[in-house]
Assembly symmetry: C2
Homo-oligomer: 135 residues x 2
DNA sequence: CTGACTGCAAACGTTTTGCACGGTA
DNA sequence: TACCGTGCAAAACGTTTGCAGTCAG
């Protein structure tokens, strides 16, 4: 995905420089929290308001363009919505990575055990990343 | 588990009426957020302070007696720490339930794919509970 | 041209802190 | 008794809101 202008239009959001920058940052970082997002955007738009960041992140989240990811013991981070995936968090360097895995088995099992009709799954795995292990 | 006095002592926390009440509430509800916890405890201890709730929840979380559970689109809830389990959240009635499931397969698969050494997993499944489905 | 978006400032809700008093061990 | 825990009030945070000016469509 490269054309963020089209992405905004697809979600019925007007294309503004601030919004393009937000999506570009989310895409570049993979995952980023509000505070870091704000200070990075400030470098290019010194007058950008924190309120603008919040308003836009909420609009984008509601329109389905962006997703909030809640991770234990970390601030919420945001990502551009894409195919379902798991989150890996490193205990040492605190980076967040996506991995794609087939979760059908466990969902099916959970439905059987609980009687729920499951709509969505949120899986976060905590541990040590390969880079930190080899230090 | 019934003896909350012993549980507190085991975690090197002094036994106070407020702390006993907090654990009793967590245990009774399974999962509860700070706001609800506060108002329920107020019924028995009208002068209890919100600061006391926060301080104690933090201490209990740090000592490993209590766990925070972050759930998408809900406030954080807290639970008495117990064996590893998944969380089921109902989209309609918003209740949170625990289920115990074998997650070894998916953890193993994730370790293989990512190269991480996984220490802990956080799995939340969103859907409709049996009670809400049959209405 | 019109409605939506932005930046600013104020308001708001939640969580944390400092301190004097009281209770546990 | 010594320290830790409690309640209260104030402060600190993070997030939201209202509004006047500006910009995208």
């Amino acid at each position: 995905m490269e054309d963020f202008t089209a992405l905004l239009k697809k979600h019925n959001l007007k294309v503004t420089p601030q919004r393009l920058k937000i999506i570009t940052m989310l895409h570049a970082h993979g995952h980023i929290n509000i505070e870091d997002l704000f200070s990075e955007i400030r470098e290019e738009f010194p007058n950008v308001s924190l309120a603008t960041i919040y308003k836009n992140i909420h609009q984008m989240t509601e329109s389905g363009l962006v997703r909030e990811v809640k991770i234990p013991s970390l601030k919420s981070v945001y990502e551009v919505a894409k195919e379902p995936h798991l989150h890996m968090v490193c205990d040492k360097c605190h980076k967040v990575e996506d991995i794609v895995l087939d979760t059908d088995k466990i969902i099916e099992e959970a439905e059987k055990v609980s009687g729920y009709k499951i709509e969505e799954s949120f899986i976060t795995l905590r541990g040590i990343c390969p880079e930190c292990r080899h230090k």
